[in-house]
Subunit: 583 residues, 2 copies
């Protein structure tokens, strides 16, 4: 709870009471300071018109590059630390170099160039850039137009990928002038609040893949030490800044039911519906993406094997809530999906969103929760405080955190993450040919397993005669893991590992009902070290209750977003000649 307390402290400091909307009562509009320089677009087209404008322009480009950054927060963060130092130096020179013969502009003049028609001007550290021609090749897609007519700084604060040397070099090519001194001063004084300044503190053991938004996994070596992953090291996958939610003001809205919009407080959610507890594993669609990167670069966070964790979750069953508020056959006859909206929002005010099939949401066997507890305590801020959806057996991305709204609908969520992101494609599909409409949104995940011990590149001692291999295995859709096969010779011969469903000292959990195996299994085996082997290629592959099996190799399942990486996991270790026997 230490983290939560810290987080609530921060929330009090930054809490802004606004009488204008209920939303702003419970969620700090941490991005509202930017409204000023966005006014060009808001005034000219309004929210809806702006979206249409984007849709009409660059339609192919939108899909082609939408995966890199867009709202996904897909930050290629490796090497970032090294680059930062050099970047700071380059950045400081930007305003002073080659400026003597360039025109001076006022902020008012810059603001007029806020569209492809009028030209797209931006400022950065007091210099003015005309990036009209760059828009079409921006790796992050048309989101760049959000900054048109204003400062880049607030956006680069949100998407840290820009803090690299080569980005500044590209920018410098488009320089057309400098801001006059007064405009620059004014702009600097309005220096926006870092939307990530109020993030909760995190456990130092976490291996960070992206700081803003925060994405981190525990070290693989400790992942399988606990059957129930402690919340502090449970993998974190945020798409946007963590919203700071006041539990007293919190409301959960439900739309699409006969009686109109329902609005529930946290205490109503807790008191009105039975508390249901499940143990469920969540896994990011990008878990083990780093193995796909080794085949060929993909777009997305470079997750290792630990973007998966297991916890107990308690809350109201979504089914109970929907039935209580009027869900019945007449709704079921029309509706096909249940959409979720988070309280985490991007700079345009767009909330994180996702949906699941209606059947899954209302099925008695689906066990979908509106969870308010994780491992017996209030949800931590990083995991959706005060309420998140837990859709067991389904990809993490649909388990919407900081849940603000539920919509029963005949349509899937229109969100970027549902429509143009978490989907699987053929290895032959690239960003030029991809058609996101051609693939279904990822829901249930396929069979998965990985080796947590020993680690790649370590040694085993021949005199030990055996090598102990450990790991996890899990499958989506409630399909139980029924077997894990282990090889130490690269897949030529196989041994069956021992599975467990609890920590070593505890009684194993009773077997789940068929189709409701939501939790992973940990496994372990001692395998004889083959004579004369100098190196072991340790391999694991799991089988679920539908006898789905993992593919052998990564390349044939490679896909441009690097999702669904579930080939056999392989770890190479050396066999060292020990001295135990000679003693």
């Amino acid at each position: 709870m230490q983290h939560l307390k810290h987080f609530q402290g921060l929330a009090q400091v930054f809490f802004i009471r606004s009488p204008s909307s209920r939303l702003s009562k419970s969620v700090i509009p941490s991005l509202s300071v930017w409204d000023g320089h966005l006014s060009c677009r808001w005034r000219s087209t309004g929210g809806h018109g702006r979206q249409k404008y984007f849709n009409d322009r660059l339609p192919k480009f939108r899909f082609a590059l939408a995966g890199l950054l867009a709202g996904t927060g897909a930050v290629l963060a490796y090497k970032l630390q090294q680059d930062k130092v050099q970047w700071a130096a380059t950045s400081a020179q930007l305003r002073v170099t080659q400026t003597s013969d360039l025109p001076i502009y006022t902020l008012e003049e810059v603001t007029k160039h806020c569209s492809l028609d009028s030209g797209v001007w931006v400022t950065y550290k007091g210099a003015v850039y005309d990036i009209t021609e760059f828009v079409a090749v921006h790796p992050g897609g048309d989101k760049i137009l959000l900054a048109a007519g204003g400062a880049l700084e607030p956006y680069w604060a949100l998407y840290a990928v820009h803090q690299q040397d080569h980005v500044l070099e590209i920018l410098s090519e488009y320089k057309i002038g400098v801001l006059d001194a007064e405009s620059y001063k004014k702009q600097e004084s309005a220096n926006p609040l870092d939307p990530y300044s109020a993030e909760p503190t995190r456990h130092p053991a976490l291996q960070i893949n992206s700081l803003k938004p925060f994405n981190a996994e525990p070290p693989a070596s400790i992942l399988s030490d606990n059957y129930i992953t402690p919340s502090v090291i449970f993998f974190k996958r945020n798409h946007l800044p963590v919203p700071r939610v006041d539990s007293e003001a919190y409301r959960l809205d439900i739309e699409g039911l006969p009686g109109g919009v329902v609005s529930l407080s946290l205490s109503e959610l807790k008191s009105r519906f039975p508390k249901h507890t499940i143990t469920a594993t969540l896994q990011c669609a990008g878990n083990r993406r780093s193995e796909m990167n080794e085949v060929k670069q993909v777009k997305g966070l470079n997750w290792g094997i630990a973007a998966i964790s297991n916890a107990t979750w308690s809350g109201a069953r979504l089914r109970d809530v929907l039935l209580f508020y009027g869900f019945g056959p007449e709704v079921a006859a029309k509706a096909k999906h249940v959409q979720f909206e988070g309280l985490d929002r991007d700079v345009t005010g767009t909330a994180y969103g996702a949906s699941i099939p209606l059947n899954n949401a209302v099925s008695e066997e689906g066990d979908v929760l509106l969870a308010y507890e994780m491992n017996g305590e209030d949800l931590p801020p990083d995991h959706g405080y005060p309420v998140r959806v837990v859709v067991p057996g389904v990809v993490g991305a649909r388990n919407v955190k900081w849940l603000g709204k539920i919509v029963v609908s005949d349509e899937e969520s229109k969100s970027h993450w549902q429509q143009n992101d978490y989907k699987g494609f053929s290895p032959g599909t690239d960003w030029d040919t991809v058609d996101f409409k051609s693939a279904p949104a990822i829901q249930e995940l396929p069979i998965q397993s990985a080796i947590t011990h020993p680690a790649e590149g370590t040694s085993v001692d021949r005199s030990d005669r055996e090598v102990t291999v450990k790991g996890y295995a899990w499958s989506g859709g409630g399909r139980e893991v029924v077997r894990v096969d282990i090889s130490v010779d690269g897949g030529k011969t196989w041994h069956v590992a021992k599975l467990r469903t609890s920590d070593q000292e505890q009684h194993p959990a009773p077997p789940p009902p068929p189709g409701r195996a939501w939790a992973w299994k940990l496994w372990e085996i001692d395998v004889p070290i083959p004579h004369r082997a100098q190196e072991l290629e340790i391999v694991c592959k799991a089988v679920d209750s539908s006898y789905n099996m993992q593919p052998d190799t990564v390349a044939p399942i490679w896909n441009l977003r690097g999702v669904l990486s579930n080939a056999w996991h392989r770890v190479k270790v050396k066999v060292s000649e020990g001295f135990k026997d000679q003693k």
Copy 2:
């Protein structure tokens, strides 16, 4: 319907009316002629005691070898035709060779040796054999004891695998004497009715893997010519002789519901419940077993890629029937399975049996049918006339044909096929180490696909520039096939095939609700022939809506029963130098 008429004609000839039981009214006790020579065992222990006797003896052996023959009808039929000629000659010599100095026995004396305690004697073509020591090494397990004290002929008629030269050679080693002339004459006159003498006629296109019991698949080349497979070439997988059922006398018993046993006539089943139609693909667990045999010999029928077919099925929903007869929460609280018993029985009177999880049976989305029509007509005899279960998305073996009984139970079916047969194991598990209790009964099947065109070993013409590749794809559990990837270079590069859900000239079927995609998809693609390629290794792999993918290779999924063979399908064709361009 031609086959059905023929079949009914046969049924009239052989129909025996017996007042002793309802079962015998509707099913001909075609094996009853053997009761005489089974009397030793029946008298001594009775049916239940006999089973216990078997269970107490050779417990390890039972499991170790149960897969070869037992009740599975797992006949290794290849090469059978060639062997038969030689076999007939050897067989004729058996009685006359080396008999001059051997004792002469009466049938009465032979009958006394009907157990391991008293010794196990059998007769074959007038010779007497003491096979007591052979029992422990009989590849078919303890079923051999059924013949103890009597003639082998009736059993060998049932399991045609014995009609091979080496079997007779083994038998000759155990010869101890000959029957006296009177006994032999008596035995010959009681020559049992071939239980397979009244089988329906079959389409000549079928490729037969076993004649008795009948198991056959259509040629792969014609399999994907029809989206709905014509019934006559729909793959046939019988475990026992086809029972001849009188539809007027037919009764379906239902046990395990509050009101006691329910007994339904065919007309009641048809009139009392709404007729529900689904299109569903059935697949044998052993489909593509021949590819596993190429890795290492397995036990079972040597199926090619066509032990899978697609049909429309009409009947009452099992859910409707169970609810009508009292299924409710109090039953659901205790029951976990729904068992099915066929009217097809082995020599001991044991019916074919299987079960499915209760949830599947009663779920609104499960679409489990008590089907009485296939492709718009009465079920053909080979497909379960008059009523079979269709459990869409689930392995063929649970789709019990000639359905006689349904039992709602807290236990799985105790049948051999549920407990000790259709299960998957690790490649490292052999018949010495297998523990059938350690693996779940196969229910939902994993993702599958195969190439029906071109055929292995054929040629494509380089001047055509493209090769047309066709096939099928399907997944269990109602998971829809969402993509099929094709490679012509052994898996290095991939192309996405076009899927279809109807015949070419018809409108495609509307997309199924999520989780209810019961039917296969046919696919087709024209792939450019790579320059300079002398040979193409064409590969297909499919992906389902849970993004399950097929494993790359066969060896790592090899298992001792050769089930669940769903690795990438590979076909090699030569590239010939055509002359079209030079003309």
